[in-house]
């Protein structure tokens, strides 16, 4: 909720910005990258490089773990788009993740469909449909909906789906659906291990690049306006609620893709996948890594999952407490997430105009009319 806190602080700041000609850029925490250095591509490149060599250095059982983390990172990406870019607090992102997981599990169990060419499109479609329905209901009312309404609405949706799955015999009740066969392509079977890892990594990279293209486009500028001041951009003539619904639907689509990959990787689905536990987890990944940066979502997932894995091995009883304290510390002292250690405000927000690279870097202070 760092973003929210920061936004509140910003509103408070707004009107009392120093009067007087050319007040220096003191209130703009821009500076850090003013030498023209771009930190973001470097971080992204490093993360990709590490991800690429990982299966070469890890033992097999750790590659399986790493695959799970990459899928969860894809899931985190969907939440970052929705919260970090469009400012929609979705506490029910797992609804789309789990619904797709259950959907493809049923396809495999009841229809014997395991082809990757059918499963992945079906999973994304389930995520998209669910997000369109829920988003349409929550976001497209006569008046703009409040943050509380949307977060409770998504939370309720996720919780209700969890309860529904637990009680429904056809969906396997508490136990979920076990023994999902492997994904196939023709006669090839994707078993867990390096092949599955590189496949999901490839999907993550492609999705990441598409998201990056979207948030750096003029559409991304509209989103920046949306999350900072929804009312203001409505007065420019933007259909703010439609923008939100669109991003929510894209988020659901990506979550659906992640959910179907997860179901086949783990080999089973269970009610938690739809519920509050997964929904909250993804919020933590993104806040920890840094929302509104995309790469922050990936880094947050890797670190939280990695640290939990290590802690649960070494401090079997108290590890959730240690993890909780760590998360609290980061959110208290780094409300913009770990990524804000290296990434300045100006670069995080980004520039959307023509050829921003050629922007003349002026010193503030001598520019009064």
């Amino acid at each position: 909720m760092g973003g929210a806190r920061e936004a509140v602080a910003r509103i408070g700041e707004g009107p009392d910005v120093v009067t007087g000609e050319g007040a220096p850029a003191a209130s703009a925490p821009a500076g850090r990258t003013s030498a023209g250095w771009k930190v973001l591509p470097i971080v992204e490149g490093l993360v990709l490089l590490i991800a690429l060599v990982l299966p070469w250095v890890l033992q097999d059982y750790l590659t399986v773990f790493a695959t799970r983390v990459v899928i969860l990172a894809l899931f985190a990406l969907s939440f970052d788009l929705v919260w970090g870019y469009a400012g929609i607090m979705s506490f029910g992102q797992a609804l789309f993740f789990g619904a797709a997981g259950y959907g493809v599990a049923l396809m495999a169990r009841d229809l014997n469909v395991t082809s990757i060419l059918l499963i992945l499109p079906a999973g994304t479609l389930i995520g998209l449909t669910a997000a369109l329905l829920l988003g349409g209901f929550l976001l497209l009312g006569r008046y703009p909906s409040s943050v509380i309404f949307v977060s409770l609405g998504t939370l309720t949706g996720s919780y209700a789906a969890d309860r529904l799955a637990r009680g429904w015999y056809y969906l396997g009740g508490q136990n979920g659906i076990p023994s999902i066969p492997p994904l196939t392509l023709g006669s090839y079977e994707f078993e867990e291990g390096p092949v599955y890892y590189y496949m999901v990594l490839g999907i993550l990279v492609v999705t990441y690049l598409l998201c990056r293209f979207l948030v750096r486009s003029q559409f991304g500028l509209a989103l920046a306006g949306l999350r900072e001041n929804e009312q203001r951009i409505a007065f420019f003539g933007y259909k703010a609620q439609h923008l939100k619904a669109i991003v929510f639907a894209i988020g659901g689509t990506i979550a659906g893709l992640a959910g179907s990959l997860y179901a086949f990787h783990e080999g089973f689905v269970w009610p938690n996948m739809l519920g509050v536990v997964f929904s909250t987890q993804v919020v933590l990944y993104v806040l920890f890594g840094g929302s509104g940066t995309l790469i922050g979502a990936v880094i947050g997932t890797v670190i939280i999952e990695g640290v939990s894995f290590w802690l649960s091995d070494n401090y079997r009883d108290v590890w959730p407490i240690i993890l909780g304290v760590l998360l609290l510390l980061v959110i208290m002292f780094r409300p913009l997430g770990l990524i804000s250690f290296v990434l300045g405000e100006r670069e995080r927000v980004g520039s959307f105009g023509k050829e921003p690279g050629k922007a003349p870097k002026k010193e503030a202070g001598n520019a009064a009319p």
């Binding site: 120093v18 486009s217 001041n229 409505a234 420019f236 009319p369």
Partner: protein
């Protein structure tokens, strides 16, 4: 036909009657000042016209269309624009992007996603920034501007969509004398294509730039007419003296 015609506007907040049958008529290319003592309902009337508040009763017509039930988005698309009383530029974005955000509001979703209007709008962004004397700070974050400059940026943003009517709520609030003078200069050229409604406490500023005035008192129209007529009006003199 006037450009804007609001009539019989009432607005009740619980027990408080903020507006009681107020009216406002603005012609083409007219600068219209909306004045009155504190609490007379100026800002509320402005909000009812802009769509930020829904009037309890009354009707608002704009370019021969009844827009009373229009949302702010629909009003903006019909050619009406509002500059808020509290500066609401987007502080973390550059000045350039603030203007671009306002300019691209009418682009289709498809064009936005593919950034297809980015190059076409570049010249317009720079023209607006130059017109409002902010071009040399184009790539600074808006938060780094002085209060007065933020107000100018906001006016530029409100004008970006080429509105037929611009509503300015206290544009010179918190400005120095020099900044007020410049604001007046910056507003003059827009008269060729746009009408203006200004709510303002600074009566000298109003007198300098407005053609006509409407005076509100306790939610009702006390007088409406040219600047000279209003200055000669006994009732108006009395309410300003009474409160002085």
């Amino acid at each position: 036909m006037p450009l804007l015609e609001a009539s019989g506007i009432s607005k009740v907040f619980g027990k408080l009657t903020a507006l009681d049958g107020a009216a406002l008529t603005v012609g083409e290319n007219e600068f219209h000042g909306l004045i009155g003592p504190n609490g007379s309902g100026k800002s509320t009337l402005m909000k009812c016209v802009a769509g930020a508040e829904v009037p309890t009763t009354g009707k608002v017509s704009f370019i021969n269309t009844d827009i009373t039930a229009f949302s702010p988005t629909e009003r903006a698309r019909a050619g009406m624009s509002l500059k808020f009383q509290i500066t609401s530029v987007l502080p973390t974005l550059t000045l350039y992007d603030n203007i671009l955000l306002a300019l691209q509001a009418q682009s289709s979703l498809f064009d936005l996603v593919l950034s297809r209007t980015r190059n076409r709008l570049h010249d317009q962004v720079m023209t607006m920034l130059t017109q409002f004397r902010l071009a040399d700070r184009a790539y600074d974050a808006a938060a780094a501007l002085s209060h007065g400059q933020q107000q100018w940026l906001e006016i530029a943003m409100a004008l970006a969509g080429k509105p037929r009517l611009l509503l300015l709520d206290e544009p010179t609030g918190g400005m120095s004398l020099e900044e007020r003078r410049v604001t007046g200069e910056l507003l003059q050229p827009i008269k060729q294509h746009c009408s203006l409604v200004i709510v303002e406490h600074d009566l000298d500023f109003i007198r300098d730039i407005c053609d006509r005035l409407t005076v509100l008192d306790q939610g009702k129209v006390l007088a409406s007419g040219t600047v000279a007529e209003i200055q000669a009006n006994k009732n108006v003199q009395e309410i300003y003296l009474r409160r002085a």
